[in-house]
């Protein structure tokens, strides 16, 4: 093998490595690429110290009402928004873990700017077969304290994300010990507006003994 062929081989291997760590629906990294960064975080060698978890709100509705092709497109356009807003804007790294779940890694110094940017994820629009569709995300984040493993930090960010969903599209909640104490409780009732059965997650401390209105849409709720 001559030098030229060796260079070609090196380029080919680099390309294969890149393909292996690329997500198939977005221009972000995949779960395999995230594993590499996870190792660095666990070894204290990563340049990132904030873990953000976000997923699409009402993703099932897009799939159910507009087919899975539209759901795939929602994932793709969200991935594009993450790339332009967070990777290019904040020098973050982002991955699609699975389905509609995204993980973003930030430096602590970028967190404040990130919090200013999250409302732009509250309404992401695209057109599919001449129909205007929209999707949205909410986020939870957790700061590394140097003692907590990546998986535990991710779990914290996921818990915080559930609280962010209660606040609405584009919201971001940072994990604190208080969040762990004020866990979400599931409340079910019937909406007086349409009679539909509604189940909502609300923070335990904020949930009144008899909830009068639906925390999701605000209309009157009849509890069983």
């Amino acid at each position: 093998m001559n030098l030229g062929q060796l260079e070609n081989l090196e380029n080919l291997i680099a390309e294969i490595r890149r393909v292996l760590s690329a997500d198939d629906k977005t221009s972000l990294g995949n779960a395999l690429a995230l594993e590499k960064e996870e190792r660095l975080i666990n070894e204290g060698k990563s340049r990132f110290d904030v873990i953000v978890f976000g997923d699409l709100n009402d993703f099932k509705r897009i799939n159910d009402e507009n087919t899975h092709d539209a759901g795939d497109l929602a994932i793709k356009v969200v991935g594009e928004t993450i790339r332009t807003t967070l990777i290019e804007g904040l020098k973050a790294e982002a991955y699609r873990q699975s389905g509609d779940e995204f993980i973003i890694l930030l430096k602590e110094e970028s967190l404040e700017r990130f919090l200013l940017l999250t409302p732009s994820f509250g309404n992401i629009t695209f057109s599919y077969k001449d129909k205007e569709l929209n999707t949205a995300m909410s986020f939870g984040c957790a700061r590394s304290d140097g003692k907590t493993s990546f998986r535990d930090l991710l779990e914290r960010a996921e818990v915080a994300c559930q609280h962010a969903k209660v606040q609405g599209n584009g919201a971001c909640v940072e994990w604190t010990e208080n969040i762990e104490l004020n866990q979400l409780v599931r409340i079910s009732g019937s909406c007086q507006k349409c009679g539909a059965r509604i189940t909502c997650n609300v923070p335990q401390q904020n949930a009144p003994a008899k909830l009068k209105s639906c925390p999701c849409c605000g209309s009157s709720l009849v509890l069983p």
């Binding site: 062929q5 070609n8 081989l9 080919l12 294969i16 890149r18 393909v19 092709d69 497109l73 077969k129």
Partner: protein, 139 residues
């Protein structure tokens, strides 16, 4: 490479050969992992004159190249199946459409490669031209 009867299947164009692809299309296919498994040695030795140059492009590579070259459409997703292929593409900023090529049940071709050729030909000559007027209206 010249077009001939052997480049047609049931009146539809077969997939172009790898040697007919632009350097950009080959690089794009490599980046997407469409040219893997056995292609490495051919690429190492150079494309010209190799057996690879004479092979048909993988279906997804042929579709992506055609959509880009002829319409400047970026393909977002290709969903292949043994007897069908579905393609979602970007036809104007932030606007997507999907076209499908499906083999009729009574159409039985000798090889999977023939199936892929028919699906490609039907997609670019029948199904895509069918939706183009709607895209122009939508645009």
């Amino acid at each position: 490479m010249s077009s001939s009867q052997e480049d047609m299947i049931l009146g539809l164009p077969r997939r172009p050969r790898v040697g007919d692809a632009s350097a950009g299309a080959i690089l794009g296919a490599l980046a997407l992992g469409l040219l893997t498994g056995g292609w490495g040695p051919a690429l190492l030795g150079g494309l010209a004159g190799s057996a690879l140059a004479n092979q048909r492009q993988p279906l997804e590579m042929a579709i992506r190249d055609h959509f880009k070259k002829h319409y400047n459409f970026d393909v977002a997703f290709v969903y292949p199946a043994p007897r069908a292929v579905k393609v979602t593409f970007l036809y104007r900023p932030n606007a997507y459409w999907t076209v499908e090529s499906i083999m009729p049940d009574d159409l039985q071709l000798p090889t999977p490669d023939d199936n892929a050729d028919w699906l490609y030909g039907n997609l670019i000559k029948v199904e895509l031209p069918r939706v183009l007027p709607r895209l122009r209206r939508a645009g």
